[in-house]
């Protein structure tokens, strides 16, 4: 079949402006997008730059967008993308600095962020003889997380990265999970502190886009939530988040439901005058519309006593 590839181009040695090149390629029915690209580079245009390594779905190196859908060039069958028209658009992933053509900056996008979570086990140097005895259930969970092939699709789907490129992102935070929940790691509390740093777990909006985009079913969003839950249990170290979560929990615990006015005040910190002043315009606007909830005037729900009991039991459980 004859396919026209319309490929994103950018040459850092010329004007660096993005453009597109069209290539008409004869391919067989079974061909993948990578087959097409290799053929183009080999026979038609040797200036075209794209990455690929394993060429069969193991490694994530050839991640790109095919007809705007992020996937792997090596497993994307051309026939699956040409049902409506024999044209295929190829672009680099979104929201990532492009170096040349389909080659984008993996370092800035993902590798440097992974390095930022100190992605190595701190082993017990004193252990000598034999392996650590550990249940397979714990190991199976880590194996699942480590089936990640660093393809970047979770980061590409992330809702936060488009507004803040410095957010660590789901790939790096999922890597952090692998150490937070590895019983062999001796870094202990330090692990959570690393994950809780600015641009870390508390900047995640837990929108589940990452989980939806992960081709391996690793569920990065749930992994981030697990780290947060663990931090909640042992004590959140990010002060503002700690204030917010403590206030939230206290109001649900005491009355069964959320006291939003109190939450707003306590999140800023009751002694943080500057922070509280900042709330004033919003509060004034809300008040003018008759919708600002009045803090601490918060009646208990029926059943609140029972909820408090559950709460206390849950808190004991998680310690």
């Amino acid at each position: 079949m004859q396919i026209t590839f319309k490929v994103y181009r950018k040459d850092p040695e010329k004007d660096g402006k993005p453009g597109r090149s069209n290539y008409s390629v004869e391919l067989d029915e079974e061909a993948t997008v990578l087959d097409g690209l290799l053929k183009i580079r080999d026979e038609m245009d040797d200036t075209l730059a794209f990455r690929a390594s394993c060429a069969r779905g193991y490694c994530g190196e050839c991640t790109m967008r095919v007809n705007y859908k992020a996937c792997f060039a090596c497993t994307a069958k051309v026939s699956a993308f040409t049902k409506k028209s024999p044209e295929i658009l190829l672009d680099p992933l979104r929201n990532i600095p492009v170096i040349k053509d389909l080659v984008f900056d993996w370092d800035a996008f993902m590798w440097n962020k992974i390095t930022a979570v100190k992605p190595w086990l701190e082993p017990d140097e004193s252990s000598t003889n034999g392996e650590n005895l550990l249940p397979d259930s714990t190991m199976a969970d880590l194996r699942k997380v480590m089936s990640c092939y660093y393809c970047g699709l979770c980061d590409e789907g992330c809702t936060v990265l488009p507004v803040d490129f410095d957010f660590l992102g789901p790939a790096a935070l999922t890597k952090a999970y692998r150490f937070v929940f590895d019983p062999r790691d001796k870094a202990g509390r330090e692990r959570l502190k690393i994950a809780e740093k600015p641009k870390g777990i508390w900047d995640c909006v837990h929108c589940f886009e990452a989980s939806e985009h992960c081709p391996r079913g690793i569920a990065p969003t749930e992994r981030i939530i697990s780290i947060r839950d663990k931090a909640f249990k042992v004590g959140i170290t990010n002060e503002k988040v700690a204030r917010h979560h403590t206030s939230f929990a206290a109001s649900v615990k005491e009355s069964g439901w959320l006291d939003e006015g109190r939450l707003a005040l306590e999140s800023e910190g009751l002694t943080n005058i500057k922070g509280l002043m900042k709330l004033l315009p919003t509060a004034a606007r809300a008040m003018a519309r008759g919708k600002a909830p009045i803090p601490y005037l918060h009646p208990k729900r029926p059943g609140a006593e029972q909820i408090k009991k559950i709460f206390e039991k849950g808190e004991r459980e998680k310690k």
Binding site: R51, T75, E131
Partner: protein
Amino acid sequence: MQAFDVLVIGGGASGLRAAIAVKGAGASVALITKVHPLRTNSGLAQGGLNAPLGKDDSAEKFAEDTLAAGDDLCERDIVRAFAQEASRDVIWLEHVGVPFNRSAEGRIDLRQFGSNSRSRTCYTDDRTGHIVLQVLHEQFERLQIPSFEEWFVTSLAVDGSACVGAVALGLRSGKLEPFTARAVILATGGFSRMYLPSTVSLGTTGDGQNLAFTAGARLMDMEMIQFHPTVFPKGQGLLISEATLREGAEIINEKGEPVLESKALTREKICLAMRQATQNGSGALSLDLRRIGKEKLASRFPQTLELAKTVAGIDVTKEPIPIRPVAHRPMGGIETDADGATSVPGMFAVGECACSGLNGAGRLAGNTLTEALVFGRKVGETATRHAKGAPVKGFPGSKLSDEEKRLAALTSGNFSGDSAGKIHSELGQLMNDKVGLVRDGAGLREALERIQSLKERHRKIKLSNSSRIYNYALTSALELGSMLNLAEAVALAAQARSESRGAHRRADFPERDDQNWRCHTVVSLAQGSPQVEKKPVAGGA
């Protein structure tokens, strides 16, 4: 100029392990790798890595199995030392974080794999390479070792007789730069991409072997190419772990009847049995994974399920997957001693690019990753000792400008019409047809002639892409040059060895000939041409 005590070339399992060992031994070290370490071919390993950890097992039994798979061409002392040290290195790997599958008691679970006579293969589902690679990379990052990723080494620097560094092209910067070192460790992996299809990544092109060979090192046992029996042969070739066989899968003929009488066979014996079956009219062969059962498939072979679906479009829980033997890993490579030293002072080699004689004429399934660990550690320690005693040598003055000129000549012309890809496809087909699972004298002669003409065409390649930034046409042309040189060495060694042994099968010499051929082949360059010699197997009986 970048200067280090030790320079490691290649970011796979062997290279990472070696770099960790060098740093641990107190020398300065840097890694150069043409793809990010987590994208290297080590990540494709599936089945597991051997260590004699079982109650019924011992280093001796492990050594026996390794020797048997090597078909009497192994260096026995090396095998015995390796079998002794394997457990320690695998336990180290567990301590630094590999989440091995566990037994009910919480110990590392062992699976029976290939022709191992005991259950001794440690594994992480069917993603062992991928996960071991990650853990090695984690520890590598922990030591904050400088890592030059997406740097392509174009040449080694040899001053007098000693290796003193390398010249590498930064794919991102487009700059050619010299790296000096007192010792260089080559850990660049295999060269099976000279076969199409094969089981390896696009970059498994024998760069390191060719760098060493052209710098004066020798290549050993190059004719020994292991074919893998259970590979879906379409596209690039998709390996289905042979571990599935011992877990219940069957190789079946068109009628659905099992083809193998036993599964405790070496890979070449399974391959030969498959070939025999096809010649006897079995029709196309396939691998029936349904016999393993859906649940066990999902829990122990999740990657196989996934990739069979995405790459081959086959749901292996519902139907058999077509297979045939496909080129997998070479046993041969850069000749080294027991510690990874080559015949060139200051030059070391480890892993699949090296040949110490550990694997003889056939590698035991599950030994590749263990070899990377044991020999990676050893070569790191040895290279460090060498570096500490080696005098500082200057980088040869004209080296960099020579390389500049060589690359400029390749990239300054008009597109020659001929292309690396076309030559590569012809080479891949040729190697499969004439230097494949079974060879003969006439075919090998023809192969050598055609390799000559392919080399001639390769020399004339001109690229229209004159940029140095991410110029993959340039690196592909260089990789093809390596494969052509090594293909010639493979065919020459195969032509010389007039017997059948291990992975080397000659239709015209079907028997093993211990009298004449219980010895290695060694290929070296003499006045620019490759020469084959014999080298006795040491270490006695």
